[in-house]
């Protein structure tokens, strides 16, 4: 096979980014006659196999093993490594999820094969395939190339390819086996849990006023709170504001916080790091105020103001009242 897609599970179903990887693989395969297979594993492998077999790929590899029933970085890394060694794909595709960041670097080390991460785009010509990733907090893009025959480990950023574009079909399912024993698994995991949930449900808010590091200090948070009140919106923030302890984590938007799509997202002093953007890029209207004209937030903003949040926000609240 040419491309092996490693499918991740999310609440018993295929993780959305697994479907996006199918689109990416179909895009690469087009016109090149590449064969595609998808690997499913874990306690819900049967269900995942059924779901994935409805797409236009060559086959589904199903891996069931007691030690893979719940996730461990050691178990998953060893399992995928063995499947890759047996099947020798040219490319191994992953969604760039938190789980993938945890275990795929271990496969890279085991196989001494490069892991090209978090790609937003790929372009192939006859000579090479270029994978594009964001660098320097998304202020620059970099075209990356592998200097290796493969198998190459490749991950794609959330929404780099749309799951809506994954072509459907009917794939056969094949069982695969590996050698795994408990001595290979060095970590013990407890059940996932949520912390201080509740509080603010930002997902249903129509208007969100969100603050970033650019507001400077904790004493300036009430200013944004006043604006949220004046315009009838909810207050949210990017991660650095939560890290600094200026607001609780229930306010956080982004990959480790809530994902929102309000009618208006007013970003105050938010630079637009990708970890934040993935949680708010679906907003109907994005208005950004930032003193840095180069801030990546302006690339996704519908309306932009290059200016000082601390000067504009109090007057804006006043005008709205």
């Amino acid at each position: 096979m040419d491309i092996l897609i490693v499918i991740e599970e999310n609440n018993g179903k295929v993780h959305r980014m697994g479907l996006e990887s199918i689109t990416a693989a179909q895009t690469m395969a087009k016109g090149r006659g590449f064969s595609i297979a998808a690997l499913v594993m874990g306690s819900n492998a049967d269900e995942l196999a059924t779901q994935v077999s409805n797409y236009d790929i060559g086959e589904v590899l199903k891996l069931q093993h007691d030690l893979l029933s719940s996730y461990s970085s050691d178990g998953y890394a060893e399992a995928v490594k063995q499947v890759v060694e047996k099947e020798s794909p040219k490319y191994v595709f992953f969604g760039h999820t938190y789980q993938v960041r945890d275990y795929v670097p271990k496969i890279s080390a085991k196989l001494m094969k490069p892991f090209l991460v978090d790609n937003v785009l790929m372009n192939s010509d006859e000579e090479e395939t270029v994978f594009t990733k964001q660098m320097f907090n998304a202020k620059l893009y970099s075209d990356m190339i592998a200097m290796d025959e493969g198998p190459l480990l490749i991950s794609f950023q959330s929404a780099a390819y749309s799951s809506d574009n994954a072509a459907s079909g009917s794939a056969s399912v094949r069982d695969v086996n590996i050698n795994l024993d408990s001595s290979m698994i060095k970590t013990q995991s407890e059940d996932p849990f949520q912390e201080e949930s509740g509080g603010v449900d930002l997902t249903s808010a129509e208007i969100i006023v969100s603050v970033g590091r650019g507001i400077g200090k904790e004493e300036n948070v009430p200013m944004a709170k006043d604006l949220a009140k004046a315009i009838g919106g909810e207050l949210a923030s990017s991660r650095p504001v939560v890290d600094a302890g200026w607001l609780s984590s229930t306010h956080q938007i982004g990959s480790s916080g809530q994902s929102v799509s309000p009618k208006m997202y007013l970003a105050l002093g938010i630079s637009g790091a990708i970890q934040h953007v993935v949680g708010m890029k679906g907003s109907k209207n994005i208005v950004a105020i930032n003193k840095d004209p180069e801030a990546p937030i302006f690339e996704i903003a519908d309306y932009g103001v290059v200016g000082d949040v601390l000067e504009i926000v109090p007057k804006l609240s006043e005008a709205l009242e």
């Binding site: 990733k133 893009y141 970099s142 849990f193 504009i312």
Partner: protein, 253 residues
């Protein structure tokens, strides 16, 4: 307890990012550098563990040209005991596998109990190096740590998962853990610390050659396909225009 902390020097969030003439990398003149944000949290976590244990050693390790000694000195001033500088021109090197090999070779004989590193760098954002080093040195690994607890040869790590979930994972030492920002409050160096840092040892290691497994072919400013309406003028004019946009364009007031 012997703890390595990998620190990287990266362009500050406000630094200009000029490209070099053939767009293969940045023109490093004119960039202002700082310690990578989550590495600063990794350093603080190591210093706190040493202080709670009452003994042990914290070693800061950085790879790059001479300029990286600035972040090494910063680490020493905050309380690290000594440092290793893997000295090489790392401009344009964007290959976690080869860099991790250099780190692993440089520290293999140190037999660290723990390696702490930032989850990812603010420049390249590869997010792999700490895990690869751990794997190469036969250590347990965990990523995205939001808390750590140590007892009797076991480290328990609170890992951040997606969508606001967490999970505790425990593992035997030695372990290489990548640290997420926000898990502690990094200290500032004291005047005494800054003075003391000058006397601390920096062991300079010159690495051999390495295979390159991936590289940046071209670096560029992304073209936005979105039309952004820029609003300018005096503060009062901006405020009036924003109210107008809220009322007539977005229709939220």
């Amino acid at each position: 307890m012997k703890i390595a902390v990998l620190v990287k020097q990266v362009p500050g969030s406000d630094s200009p990012l000029p490209l070099n003439s053939n767009q293969s990398w940045l023109d490093e003149n004119g960039i202002s550098y700082v310690m990578n944000e989550c590495d600063n949290y990794a350093l603080e976590e190591a210093l706190q563990i040493k202080e709670e244990n009452g003994d042990g050693e914290v070693v800061v390790i950085s790879l790059g040209p001479d300029r990286v000694q600035k972040v090494i000195r910063e680490g020493l001033a905050k309380g690290a005991d000594r440092a290793i500088h893997i000295q090489m021109n790392s401009d344009g090197v964007a290959d976690p596998l080869s860099l991790a090999t250099l780190f692993a070779d440089a520290i293999r004989d140190e037999n660290f109990d723990l390696i702490f590193s930032g989850l990812q760098s603010d420049d390249l954002g590869m997010g792999q190096t700490g895990i690869i080093i751990g794997e190469m040195l036969g250590m347990s690994t965990a990523s995205l740590a939001m808390a750590t607890e140590l007892s009797e040869g076991i480290i328990k790590v609170k890992r951040e998962l997606e969508a606001g979930f967490f999970q505790w994972v425990s593992m035997a030492l030695p372990a290489s853990i990548t640290i997420q920002s926000g898990l502690n409050t990094p200290r500032y160096p004291s005047l005494k610390g800054i003075m003391g840092a000058k006397k601390k040892e920096i062991n300079i290691v010159t690495p051999g050659s390495h295979d390159v497994k991936q590289s940046a072919k071209k670096v560029y400013v992304p073209q936005s396909d979105k039309q952004t309406v820029m609003i300018d003028g005096s503060v009062d004019e901006i405020v009036n225009k924003l109210v107008e946009v809220f009322r007539n364009e977005i229709k939220v007031i």
